[in-house]
């Protein structure tokens, strides 16, 4: 199915593809999925440090994309818009996943199976270290250093003060430095 979609849309431009999706063309949407799933999943995985949540969040991004793509007006680049949508949905999804059980046992929300993720995705260097960061520090670091958001934007997305965003970034940076130097 995906291969057929790929062949059918091989020659058309992205804006035409998006226009077809906006008109409800399911095959065009499959093609859009093929083009962007790895970028979406990459961001989800870095933000969540959890393979299972990253998969679920990626699926949710595309389900919402299908429903809300009419909101894309073409003023920004589609990839930029999609990254922003992905970040918002993933963070919102992650918040929902913080179960009451974790609160009950006072669990520090930290990347839990980073070694398994590393092995499965063949990650290296900085990505490995990012997965070890505590949740808030990780999200701020990914949004600021990897995705290029400003602290003011991050503060809005993560519902925190601008100062907290800066503090979390420095915390992340210090931890990364410490781990890098001890390796």
């Amino acid at each position: 199915m995906l291969i057929k979609a790929e062949q059918r849309f091989a020659a058309i431009k992205e804006e035409q593809l998006i226009s077809l999706v906006q008109q409800g063309d399911r095959a065009a949407f499959e093609q859009l999925y093929t083009q962007y799933i790895n970028r979406v999943y990459g961001l989800c995985l870095r933000l969540t440090a959890d393979k299972s949540i990253a998969e679920d969040a990626s699926q949710e991004v595309f389900v919402q994309l299908w429903q809300k793509i009419s909101n894309f007006d073409g003023k920004a680049k589609f990839s930029t818009w999609l990254h922003s949508v992905t970040a918002n949905i993933t963070i919102s999804y992650l918040r929902k996943q913080k179960s009451w059980l974790q609160k009950v046992v006072s669990i520090e929300t930290q990347g839990m199976d980073e070694h398994a993720i590393e092995a499965e995705h063949d990650l290296n260097g900085l990505d490995k270290l990012i997965l070890r960061l505590p949740e808030r520090a990780r999200m701020v670091f990914v949004l600021y250093a990897v995705e290029g958001y400003r602290h003011e934007e991050i503060a809005t997305i993560l519902n925190m003060a601008v100062g907290s965003s800066k503090a979390q970034y420095h915390r992340a940076r210090n931890l990364l430095k410490e781990w890098y130097e001890n390796e």
């Binding site: 999943y41 990459g42 995985l45 809300k68 949905i89 009950v104 046992v105 940076r173 890098y180």
Partner: protein, 163 residues
């Protein structure tokens, strides 16, 4: 190692960080089904709508009661042992299974997935018998419990956030 080494490592890593990471699982099928599922509510008849409202109300009531219980217990003492956590989980899980017993699941293999999670749960509980205060094991157990509840909810009542 000096500051300079770390700074250059960071700079180089960020500049060369691959934007794409390929998921190991095929995610398209789930998306495809979810899109179909989202279309269906438009065709619901009046009776079905009432049933959905009633089910949501029951779920909300159950959650409220449950959270109230947790709150009261938390005030009495710190709940961090495996027995209490398991009892709370079992109550919640059974309530969900009863609530959804008449409702078709979104996927066919969810019970097999639940079996896998239950096996993991049993293995962790076994390990906790020797080390009941082991926080890593407690964390793993909580994670498995969370995944079981998520799975039951997800396959019966998917909810999507707004962009």
């Amino acid at each position: 190692m000096s500051n300079k080494d770390f700074d250059s490592f960071l700079k180089h890593s960020l500049e060369n960080m691959p934007e794409e990471i390929q998921p190991k699982k095929d995610l398209w099928q789930g998306i495809d089904r979810a899109i179909d599922f989202k279309v269906k509510p438009k065709t619901l008849n009046h009776f079905t709508k009432l049933s959905v409202v009633a089910a949501c109300f029951a779920a909300a009531l159950l959650s409220f009661n449950f959270l109230s219980t947790i709150q009261m217990q938390s005030n009495d003492s710190e709940i961090n042992n495996v027995i209490t956590m398991s009892e709370i989980f079992e109550t919640q899980k059974n309530a969900l299974l009863v609530q959804y017993q008449e409702k078709p699941a979104l996927t066919d293999d969810w019970q097999a997935q639940l079996d896998d999670l239950e096996q993991a749960e049993q293995a962790i509980k076994q390990a906790l018998k020797n080390e009941p205060q082991n926080s890593a094991l407690l964390r793993m157990l909580a994670q498995v419990y969370r995944q079981e509840l998520e799975l039951i909810n997800r396959v019966h009542q998917p909810k999507w956030q707004q962009i």
